[in-house]
Symmetry: D2
Subunit: 136 residues, 4 copies
Amino acid sequence: MYQHSLQYRVLYADTDQMGYVYHGNYPKLYEAGRNEAIRALGLSYKELESIGIWMPVTQMEFKLLRPAFYDEVLTIITSIQVLPETKLNFYTEVYSQEDKLLNAGKISLAFVDANTKKSSAAPQVLLEKLLPYFTS
Amino acid sequence: MYQHSLQYRVLYADTDQMGYVYHGNYPKLYEAGRNEAIRALGLSYKELESIGIWMPVTQMEFKLLRPAFYDEVLTIITSIQVLPETKLNFYTEVYSQEDKLLNAGKISLAFVDANTKKSSAAPQVLLEKLLPYFTS
Amino acid sequence: MYQHSLQYRVLYADTDQMGYVYHGNYPKLYEAGRNEAIRALGLSYKELESIGIWMPVTQMEFKLLRPAFYDEVLTIITSIQVLPETKLNFYTEVYSQEDKLLNAGKISLAFVDANTKKSSAAPQVLLEKLLPYFTS
Amino acid sequence: MYQHSLQYRVLYADTDQMGYVYHGNYPKLYEAGRNEAIRALGLSYKELESIGIWMPVTQMEFKLLRPAFYDEVLTIITSIQVLPETKLNFYTEVYSQEDKLLNAGKISLAFVDANTKKSSAAPQVLLEKLLPYFTS
């Protein structure tokens, strides 16, 4: 399994009038987590794009257990639990400053050839970076 | 079953550099759909708040089948398929201008007492408005 | 002068924990206003793009006089007061449901050749549509 | 003068279909800069709220000179150039990874008594923190 941790400070922009982080802002935080998780592998999503691979989100589900509040420092734990074949699944957990689980999501991304716009297999360059985390 | 339809014109603000509507912007569109669906019942989420009922989103899942594009007029179909007890489930489908299904989501909202912050049953005023759509 | 009016219902997504529409969400509403203002001329920003004209925002200023609230129907008045030469200036005013001026902005857009990425003059097709509103 | 620097990595969520950071996302980045600038003073906007001071944005202007791109690390320089009396003015500059000025804004915040919702003078606790930067 590959796992990465990112911290994020909640802005006023993220809140809604309940005084909570608006639920619709979590997909953006999950993206920030994935972004840095891939970069920490020694790769970047931008590089993948530059070799002609798009990775659109195809499915997302998340549970909201507890609210997050303005000015809190959230911890975003992103993990890849299975080596990708035609899809890359990310599991994301967001923890409060007191280390309580606030919400958790599963996000699936496809690999798409930027030219043909057709789905393709996981790029070799990504698999190579992930492999060390999946051998026993 | 209760169903409602809303149209939405895609803004530049909604797009990302793939030229698609950013996946993380759909929860906001789903909210717009729910908002108007409840209003069309002769109620408003704001009124529910004013009688002390909060309805936070507790779970969301959606599939993205096809991208939406700038300037397109999307059709957001929101439906309630079961009378709510402790949760209110919305099914939302977003269709393109050519009437193709672009994405579909299921969103669960809890009923929360604004004072105690504890979950409560579906408010009577909502059930009364919905009932006519669920009798045979 | 050319003027256009658009209505917008405030979403939960637009609010912040003060219970107001977050100030940083107004540029998006101003965009919605400009979008429909241009479309009402019988043109669309998308068409301008398709003939190779980009119109990036180069300057924006706005004053926030009164807050806007959840579920309110705002009126967005967009006007063009001078025929564009190298810039297109929009004046945008947002009014509450009670017809009070909430905020007002001035937004400048440049004309850019999508190929050369250099600034260009106002496109003829836009000037033709605007001209009838500027002759006495 | 008081000055603070913050780094921000551009997300996919921030971009639009021109491939640039959408202009309407800058107010949020400016907020992030102000937030951390105040915190670095040994105070936080949240604390100010907790003693009954709201600081709504009342005016904002910004110039967009060059675009910012996906995955770039932006530097947000926030400065306070004058001790606040009834308004607090922030100057914000955003620089690219190559240290080019991309955009610059001036943002004015009022001090509002959270109870009376009337404007008030700059709170003593803030002035005390700022004073050392404004004595010669």
